[in-house]
């Protein structure tokens, strides 16, 4: 769908800058602000990026981690002001754009090869 120039201009104001470059397969730490009533705290979610949806302001990414033997996936909006920062922990080598196959794997098989190890 062709977006109108008015909307394109409006959406440009909603974009965040200073976002790190990261790709599918990378391990990231997402510092996410959580508001509980009056208080605000930061929660860190670390895991492998399964998917990146590149769509302007609507861009999102999915992070998967295994917590106490239970797979947990979270979808973050890339430009959300709730994200304090995104840290890239390590770069991964993958051959797919979507790593949904990781859901069916467990333990050692569910690892992503690190770019450092070649």
């Amino acid at each position: 769908m062709l977006s109108s120039p008015v909307i394109a201009k409006l959406e440009a104001t909603q974009l965040r800058d200073k976002l790190p470059e990261f790709r599918v397969g990378d391990t990231v730490r997402v510092h996410y602000k959580i508001i509980e009533g009056e208080k605000e705290r930061v929660q860190v979610f670390q895991g492998v990026v399964l998917k990146r949806h590149r769509a302007g302001v609507r861009s999102s990414f999915t992070v998967r981690k295994v917590s106490f033997n239970v797979g947990v996936e979270r979808v973050f909006l890339l430009h959300s002001p709730r994200i304090e920062k995104i840290e890239v922990v390590s770069r991964g080598v993958v051959r797919k754009a979507r790593l949904f196959y990781l859901r069916d794997l467990a333990g050692k098989a569910a690892r992503v090869r690190d770019a450092k190890d070649g």
Binding site: S4, L10, Q14
Partner: protein, 243 residues
């Protein structure tokens, strides 16, 4: 001949009387163009799904209590091409010292509200609406042409199997035999669907960009992109402004 003239006049005054007394939304509003939908993040970091409406309608005339029996602003939106402007229309705009506008609509309002604006002035979004206010959006829905009952009235249609023959998207029976012996008025049947005036009530104004004449309204507004929409204070919320 004379009697007919008089009858005609009587009818006209009758219509005028009706226009004067008609109950309409008289809360401040604008005529705008639907640009499309987008999302914005609010101060809490939550996503609001918004319709962008472009205002910028210009006052091209007024209706006053003394002269017309009711008060309203006549507003115009968009420029009308010269080839689409006949002399009568051109003359009317020339009288108001304005360039011909594509869409012209009357906005009924209170006498005080109408008196606030001058002819030739663009309606300022910032003065008319406030962020967080509730509004009603009126537009013409997309025309769908002649439509069957499944699409038009969300009928379930018939079963797809068990030997169904040419009866998959039909509406079924339209009445009984002897009593009443006719099909009841208002029965849901296929027909023309869409292209009607639809009002979406109690939508929230999430953002106003007065300089660019843009209004961001939470939720969907009837009609296609580039459709003309009428945005007014919410009738069901007494204008939609918090006291």
């Amino acid at each position: 001949m004379r009697t007919r003239d008089r009858a005609c006049c009587a009818q006209k005054s009758h219509i005028k009387e009706r226009i004067r007394n008609i109950v309409v939304n008289k809360f401040p509003g604008i005529l705008g163009k639907k640009i499309g939908m987008t999302q914005i993040f609010d101060e809490k970091g939550e996503v609001l799904r918004c319709t962008v409406v472009q205002g910028g309608c210009v006052v091209v005339g007024k209706r006053t209590q003394e002269k017309d029996g009711y008060s309203a602003l006549i507003v115009g939106l968009g420029e009308r091409k010269e080839k689409h402007t006949n002399k009568a229309v051109a003359g009317a705009f020339k009288k108001a010292n304005q360039t011909p506008k594509r869409v012209v609509r009357e906005l009924r309002g209170t006498a005080e509200w109408v008196a606030k604006f001058e002819v030739g002035q663009a309606l300022p979004l910032g003065d008319i609406f406030s962020e967080g206010q509730f509004v009603d959006a009126q537009g013409t829905s997309r025309g769908r042409g002649f439509t069957g009952v499944v699409r038009r009235w969300s009928f379930a249609g018939g079963v797809q199997t068990h030997g169904t023959h040419e009866y998959r998207r039909h509406g079924g029976s339209i009445g009984t035999n002897m009593t009443p012996g006719r099909t009841l008025p208002g029965l849901k049947m296929p027909g023309h669907y869409g292209a009607e005036t639809v009002t979406a009530h109690n939508l929230k104004v999430s953002k106003i960009l007065a300089d660019e004449h843009l209004l961001l309204i939470e939720g969907a507004v009837p009609g296609p992109r580039n459709g003309i929409v009428l945005i007014r204070g919410a009738v069901k919320k007494n204008g939609g402004v918090k006291k």
